[in-house]
Amino acid sequence: MMSSCIQISGGRVVDPANGRDEVGELCAVDGVVSESLNEQQKESASKLDATGLVVAPGLVDIHVHFREPGQTHKETIATGSRAAAAGGFTTVVGMPNTTPPADNVSTVQHIKDIIERDALVKVYPTGTITLGQEGQHLAPIGSLQRAGVVAITDDGFCVQNNEIMRRAVEYANMFDLVVMDHCQDMDMTEGAVINEGHWSLRLGLRGWPSAAEEIVVSRNVILSNLTGGRIHLQHITSGNAVDIIRRAKSRGVRVSAEVTPHHLHLTDQCLSSYNTNFKMNPPLRSESDRQMLIEGLLDGTIDCIGTDHAPHSDYEKDQEFDRAPNGVTGLETALAVCLEVLYQNGRCTLNEVIAWLTCKAAETLRLKAGRLSPGDPADITVFDPDEPWVVEADQFQSRSANSPWIGETLKGKVKCTLVDGKVVWGCLPSLNG
């Protein structure tokens, strides 16, 4: 049988894992990246023109909420993975806070069945750390891994009991499984809906002190050091937490960290008119925190970017501020926002931004994704880093539109997304006669 070949030419190929950044060709045979095509393959190849565009590994997001099963009015694996494809993401890791939560093998298997049936991109499930994400009893971590989870986390319901967290990390380490933690001291943040600081005082909203994150980040550093297990610190927001992680890493503690595009781009000042599309947990912080997050990325303290794509329906967000659920969507805006905050203003190179969104994200969970070495899956994103576009609520592929960037003009547009060599989003001009 004839093999299926593609040849993308004329674009700037940026593949940070392999140190490649040049105008050139990218080829794939049968869904796998290939060094080059032979004459026969060239003959049959689908030839795509990426002139003036960037050709990068498919983006990797280790933090999304696809809400299925249980909350399919917000998002499904079908709509979430389409949003991912539209945003240039070819690999995403789903959080386990579905209804029911992924704290047992059959729920994980159910999620995998839906992925198999509906997903447009590669979706990997995670399992919970504790049963029901209640922080009381360990979930069947080994069985969850056997069922296919790529990490465990009680995301959103940070394990408060240090003994349980210690045992979870120790136990998961036996399977070389990463424990992801949403770092929040619950006692210090009861009822909190916004960063504690100038704006919480001014708006009369209950404040979430960044110390409540720093304390749990410190706890995790200590437990990783004690057990040797790997802990991934989710969506870090505090400048002081960045400092704690920096010192831990310099001592060789096995922690990694992510930051979201919204915490890199926005501050708590955005809440001045109580717009619930800026309400998320952990909350937007101060400008000095934001700057320290950027510095943390630049010096490698923060490993990667994850969107925490958290869809909610319009009627859920359209409520009193205190009542509206936490979370914002991010998959379809992440690339442009990251380019704007980090690259367009010269803080770093295009190569670095792509690394944080691809290979470095994949490395934290050791996923086989985010690079374009020969033999790797041909998961590819082609985008124009300079094309401006206006974010519009009715243009999202996600089932929800709770984005803080609605109405904003962003620069950087995804043109085409390929998974295993097949176009799943957009298109490129064909060079075939």
Partner: protein, 329 residues
């Protein structure tokens, strides 16, 4: 141009958004209405034929009744809805609730809600005037207006006056509205109380923050006390009501630090013997009940001004107000 025409807001959401001129206009209008309250026939026809809805999601004695009396004095029909008596108890959203109230042809909506920002939120959903009667820990504009009217009646000017706000500032909407009103009027505001309830960061709003009660009270021209809500949110913020009273309660000895003739104010409800000595609350220095009476005048002014602005925005003739002297307020 008559002063009423320089008021262009149909909603009263916050004091923060008002200018000093707007504050002075409210005081002048309220003073004019206050004069009408001494007549035997107290009723004016300014809001005749209008329906005012009191939508109260939190308990209230003074504010609710004062709005009720104010609207009635202006000849409006008043409907009061509380959370337990509304379909919110059946799970109806605030959005749907207020849109239905508008569809029932209410003319003015007064709202008290435990969630900060709710009045601003609903003012974007409906076109009739929205008056904030207290939203969470955010603002309680008419309380600050009646407090400042009370001071305005006694003082030539707020410039150079020292006003100390003492107590639970963190969770107080009254404190926030008064901080804005007093600083805009030119007074010097000092916040005092336990560090846990009076974070130093409040200084960013242009006030002094002190935790030494002696310093806070010395030479103050007025002190505003706030109720300690130990039964609710502040359980971890200080040890006990007894300790609070011994450290921060206003008693006769401490009141002697105030300037002679200084006023003691409280928005109510008072916890007698906790934040204030019971007899002191009833003494000649206290203007607590006068504040309550001024609450009617201020709310008449607010209803009148916002209703007038709404009519003008809609292109209809506004309501008729009280006759005013040339130099009212």
């Amino acid at each position: 141009m008559s002063p009423a025409n320089s008021w262009n807001r149909k909603d009263l959401i916050s004091i923060e958004s008002l200018s000093r001129d707007e504050l002075e206009l409210i005081f002048a209008t309220a003073s004019a209405f206050k004069k009408t309250m001494q007549r035997s026939q107290k009723k004016l026809r300014s809001l005749q034929g209008k329906t005012v809805v009191n939508l109260f999601f939190e308990p209230s004695t003074r504010t609710r009744m004062a709005f009720d009396v104010a609207a009635t004095r202006l000849s409006a029909d008043v409907v009061t809805i509380t959370s337990s008596g509304s379909s919110m108890a059946k799970g109806e959203s605030l959005r749907d609730t207020v849109r239905n109230i508008e569809a029932l042809k209410a003319d003015i909506l007064i709202i008290r809600h435990s969630a900060a920002g709710s009045p601003l939120y609903i003012s974007r959903l409906i076109s009739i005037p929205v008056i904030n009667a207290g939203d969470g820990a955010h603002e309680h504009p008419t309380q600050a207006l009646l407090d400042c009217l009370t001071l305005n009646e006694r003082w030539e000017s707020f410039e150079g006056k020292k006003v100390t706000i003492l107590g639970d500032i963190l969770f107080s909407r009254v404190a926030r509205s008064n901080i804005w009103a007093l600083t805009k009027m030119g007074a010097h505001v000092t916040l005092a109380g336990p560090a846990t309830l009076v974070p130093d960061q409040f200084a960013e709003l242009g006030v002094d923050v002190v935790h030494d009660l002696r310093r806070a009270l010395t030479d103050a021209d007025a002190v505003m006390l706030l109720r300690i809500q130990h039964e609710r949110q502040t359980s971890t913020h200080f040890p006990s009501l007894g300790e609070y009273t011994s450290m921060f309660g206003l008693n006769w000895e401490r009141a002697s630090l105030l300037k002679p003739g200084a006023l003691i104010m409280h928005p109510g409800p008072i916890n007698r013997g906790v934040e204030i000595d019971s007899k002191l609350a009833d003494s000649g220095r206290s203007v607590i009940l006068e504040q309550v009476t001024n609450g009617i005048a201020v709310r008449m002014a607010v209803l009148f001004l916002c209703s007038g602005a709404a009519s003008r925005l809609a292109g209809v003739k506004g309501p008729r107000g009280p006759r005013r002297s040339a130099h009212s307020g």
